[in-house]
């Protein structure tokens, strides 16, 4: 049987030869242009940042669009596309003049009419935009570069609204695009931002490609958060879709990608041990967990029962169970996020420590009959998966009966829209997370809307809270605004709109031997980043 042995030998030799050949031919020619290869937290599916609130689409928006105003790292609102602006003495007329030389990606100049149409589209969709537009009587172009916004009554959040840093961001689009009904997706992706979306190279599930916009005119100030000069320092940015976290971490360590936006916390030790990788906390305000209750059905249709739940919960167990490493989380009593202008402890300190005896006493007072709390448990997202079991444990210790139901996140977001009884497909409670930039004030933060049917899921209903929010919105004095924000926080804890379950941070991993200059911000920004490896 000699031929059999010789065949086996040949097979082994061939198997040995493949990697040798591969080793000889691994080197690939260097690209002529500078390219940044990035793995984002998810694949880009929808490219209309007004149509959806998805963060990946917001990030796409920051690549190709620009904003009239922007927020800097000190949370100050500064002009971005706007050059100068003024407000009349009666605070009813705002006049905005655009910077010189602003162009769309197709070469046409950016005009006041474009901006008016864009603000209108955003204002018909976004909750903060809708609030602003409810105060706007008229917007009118004065000339190609100047337009006015006429208000019905003074409104304290005009500039803050136009500088809204997170979903939905008021991005400016050409008039022909912005006239698309807000309920319909746009199909023309021309913006005026520092990068151009390469529609033909966009392969959903594979990669999204942006190239530097040569005619972009950055501001002269240094970049700071979403404000200042947006200087594109690479020719091309590729967002590579990589749904498997372990693969993405391996690809970063092997140098096949340059930036990994959101490595899961359980894989951070691998990256901490990789010499060429740096972990950057580019969003120092981080994120905040939320425990949301449904006001429509027992037991959370009772204020005392909601207060009992808040008494039973505390932030540290949530943060330890999900994030683990205290370097990446903070116990924070402030509902409007720690280290921000509206950071207060009043009322919010109830979430620092569980008080099970108080919870049980409140339940007794409320006449709680053991109705199970249907708690929706999202199982597939690492930053949410362990939250519901912790909540269930704390609530049980506080005297509740809990029916925790597991499902994937997409099922949860579908089910939370249902107003039916929990026994008929509805729900009592769920946990989610917010990017801090979304919840910096009681108007942009959806959780404080207590407008019953118009409120966010859970549909809280409270007239006093709405009065406070309206007073906050119309107040133009900063000190009084702060006082109102404090009252809103106290009221939110009193009536139990939701519980803030802890602040946490998501580091971004970058190859420090290849790139530098990544800015901090509420979203990942790709201007100002340059390659240092030639």
């Amino acid at each position: 049987m000699n031929w059999g042995r010789s065949f086996a030998r040949s097979l082994l030799a061939a198997a040995a030869a493949v990697p040798m050949l591969a080793g000889l031919m691994t080197a690939t020619p260097a690209a002529a242009e500078t390219t940044l290869r990035v793995v984002m937290h998810s694949d880009l599916k929808i490219v209309d940042p007004i149509w959806t609130t998805a963060y990946i689409t917001r990030n796409h928006g920051y690549m190709i669009y620009d904003t009239l105003f922007a927020m800097d790292e000190k949370l100050n609102v500064t002009p971005q596309m706007v050059d100068t602006w003024k407000v009349s003495d009666d605070k009813l007329t705002y006049t905005f003049t655009l910077r010189d030389g602003l162009k769309w990606h197709d070469g046409a100049p950016v005009t006041a009419e474009d901006c008016i149409a864009s603000v209108k589209r955003w204002g018909s969709k976004d909750s903060m935009g809708q609030k602003l537009m409810s105060f706007v009587a008229e917007m009118k172009a004065v000339d190609d570069k100047t337009f006015t916004m006429q208000l019905k009554e003074p409104y304290g959040l005009v500039l803050l609204s136009l500088a809204k840093p997170s979903s939905n961001v008021p991005f400016m689009m050409p008039k022909r695009v912005a006239e698309t009904p807000a309920g319909e997706q746009i199909s023309d992706y021309v913006g005026s931002g520092p990068f151009v979306f390469q529609k033909d190279e966009w392969k959903p599930g594979d990669k999204t490609v942006y190239t530097k916009f040569a005619d972009y005119k950055p501001r002269s100030e240094p970049g700071s958060w979403a404000a200042g000069g947006k200087v594109a320092k690479v020719d091309r940015v590729e967002w590579i879709s990589m749904p498997d976290h372990q693969t993405a971490v391996n690809a970063l360590v092997a140098g096949e990608i340059d930036v990994l936006e959101a490595p899961p916390h359980d894989l951070l030790p691998i990256l901490e041990g990789a010499e060429e990788v740096a972990l950057l906390n580019t969003n120092p305000l981080g994120n905040q967990y939320m425990f949301r209750m449904n006001w429509l059905h027992p037991p959370f249709d009772n204020q005392k029962v909601r207060q009992a739940a808040i008494a039973a919960l505390s932030q540290e167990p949530f943060l330890q169970a999900v994030i683990g490493n205290p370097a990446y989380y903070k116990v924070c009593p402030a509902m409007f996020v720690c280290d921000t202008p509206f950071a207060f402890t009043e009322g919010g300190d109830a979430m620092v420590k569980s008080d099970f005896e108080k919870s049980k006493a409140l339940l007794k007072e409320a006449g709680y009959d053991g109705t199970p709390v249907v708690l929706m448990h999202s199982t597939d997202l690492a930053v949410l998966a362990n939250l519901a079991p912790v909540a269930a444990d704390l609530l049980r210790k506080g005297g509740f009966t809990v029916d925790m139901q597991s499902m994937d996140w997409q099922t949860l977001v579908s089910r939370r829209a249902k107003k039916e009884k929990p026994s008929e497909g509805g729900w009592n409670a769920f946990l989610t997370s917010w990017v801090a930039a979304d919840i910096l004030n009681p108007i942009s933060a959806a959780g404080y809307n207590t407008g019953c049917d118009k409120a966010w899921f859970g549909w809280p209903c409270d007239e006093k809270m709405e009065q406070l929010r309206n007073a906050f919105a119309t107040e133009t004095d900063e000190a009084k605004q702060k006082d109102l924000a404090k009252q809103i926080q106290v009221r939110a804890m009193e009536i139990g709109t939701h519980a803030h379950a802890g602040q946490w941070y998501q580091p971004t991993a970058v190859r420090k031997d290849k790139v530098e200059g990544m800015l901090n911000g509420p979203a990942p920004f790709f201007w100002n980043i340059s390659r240092i490896d030639g």
């Binding site: 309920g183 959903p204 693969t247 118009k454």
Partner: protein
């Protein structure tokens, strides 16, 4: 034969209709709302309702079914809820990577599994046979993703012989194409090598006990001729059957491998569509898969006539 082929092709129509109906109803009766997913985490109930209306998801089920079936009859598989692209375009973008992965996997599998199976059968009870059977058990037992990560760690992260992930079209050159396919194909082929080597061994052992093999040996034919021309050929029908089933299973099997190696193929398109409740894409992909399954079965049945003259249709 022509009548048989025509009959089988006609039979695909009711199969596809049943699949289409089943998938359509299953998707709409299971939990999940594409509008809520499209709207994003921060959307209000009103925004979600607007999107439901825009997508026609508030229409009665028979209306939705009629609209979809009407488009399907005109060859239009619909538009993805998410990407604002035709589903046909999405599928065409993803066919090449999956086809490339499946083809290289089957080539590696056949080149390794059949000779190993034949040799193991010939050396029944010997060290080679035991090794092949041991490998076979291991091949079945190790999950694809474990093997994938293991190969990535050794050959991509440590030795740097291969890239960790990604796919390059063959239009970028033969070596870049193969360079990225070797590890995923090896990963995926292990389970099929285990399966096919085992079946080949069993089939050849059965045939080696037949009288005509003894006759062939008595005639003085060489071992190679006896094995290849007589034993293997007569053992071919079950082997081809299992290869055919293997190819069909590959369509589902690529999902994990495509995720681990980040290959943008049909498997990942399916998973993404299911997670996003992208009804038009799921429906189209499953219809295409069903059609391919039916075709593969037909090709296997036809190949029997070439391998065994006694089989006629």
């Amino acid at each position: 034969m022509t009548a048989f082929v025509a009959q089988r092709l006609l039979a695909t129509i009711p199969v596809l209709v049943m699949v289409a109906l089943f998938v359509f109803l299953m998707l709409r009766l299971t939990p999940g709302d594409p509008a809520a997913i499209i709207a994003g985490d921060n959307a209000t109930p009103v925004q979600i309702e607007e999107i439901r209306e825009r997508l026609g998801l508030n229409d009665p089920l028979p209306t939705q079914l009629a609209i979809w079936a009407g488009k399907l009859l005109q060859g239009d598989l619909g538009e993805s809820f998410f990407f604002k692209k035709k589903v046909t375009e999405l599928i065409l973008q993803r066919v090449e990577p999956t086809l490339a992965l499946a083809t290289t996997t089957m080539i590696i599998t056949l080149l390794v599994a059949i000779p190993l199976g034949v040799l193991a059968a010939y050396r029944q009870g010997g060290w080679l046979d035991r090794t092949v059977m041991g490998f076979s058990v291991a091949g079945f037992s190790v999950p694809v993703f474990v093997l994938g990560y293991l190969l990535i760690y050794v050959f991509a992260v440590e030795l740097k012989w291969f890239p960790v992930q990604g796919y390059k079209s063959i239009s970028a050159g033969l070596w870049p194409f193969l360079h990225r396919l070797i590890l995923p194909s090896l990963t995926l082929s292990v389970i099929y090598i285990a399966l096919i080597a085992r079946i080949t061994r069993a089939s050849v052992i059965d045939v080696l006990g037949e009288d005509y093999i003894r006759t062939a040996k008595a005639k003085g034919l060489t071992n190679r001729t006896v094995l290849v021309k007589h034993a293997l050929r007569n053992a071919a029908v079950p082997i081809v059957t299992i290869v055919g089933i293997g190819i069909a299973l590959l369509i589902g099997g690529v999902v994990v491998t495509e995720s681990v190696y980040n290959i943008p193929g049909l498997g990942r398109l399916t998973v993404d569509a299911v997670l996003g409740r992208d009804y038009p894409t799921i429906q189209a992909v499953i219809l295409v898969f069903s059609f391919v399954y039916v075709l593969i079965n037909l090709v296997i049945d036809l190949s029997y006539t070439l391998l065994d003259p006694r089989i006629r249709y």
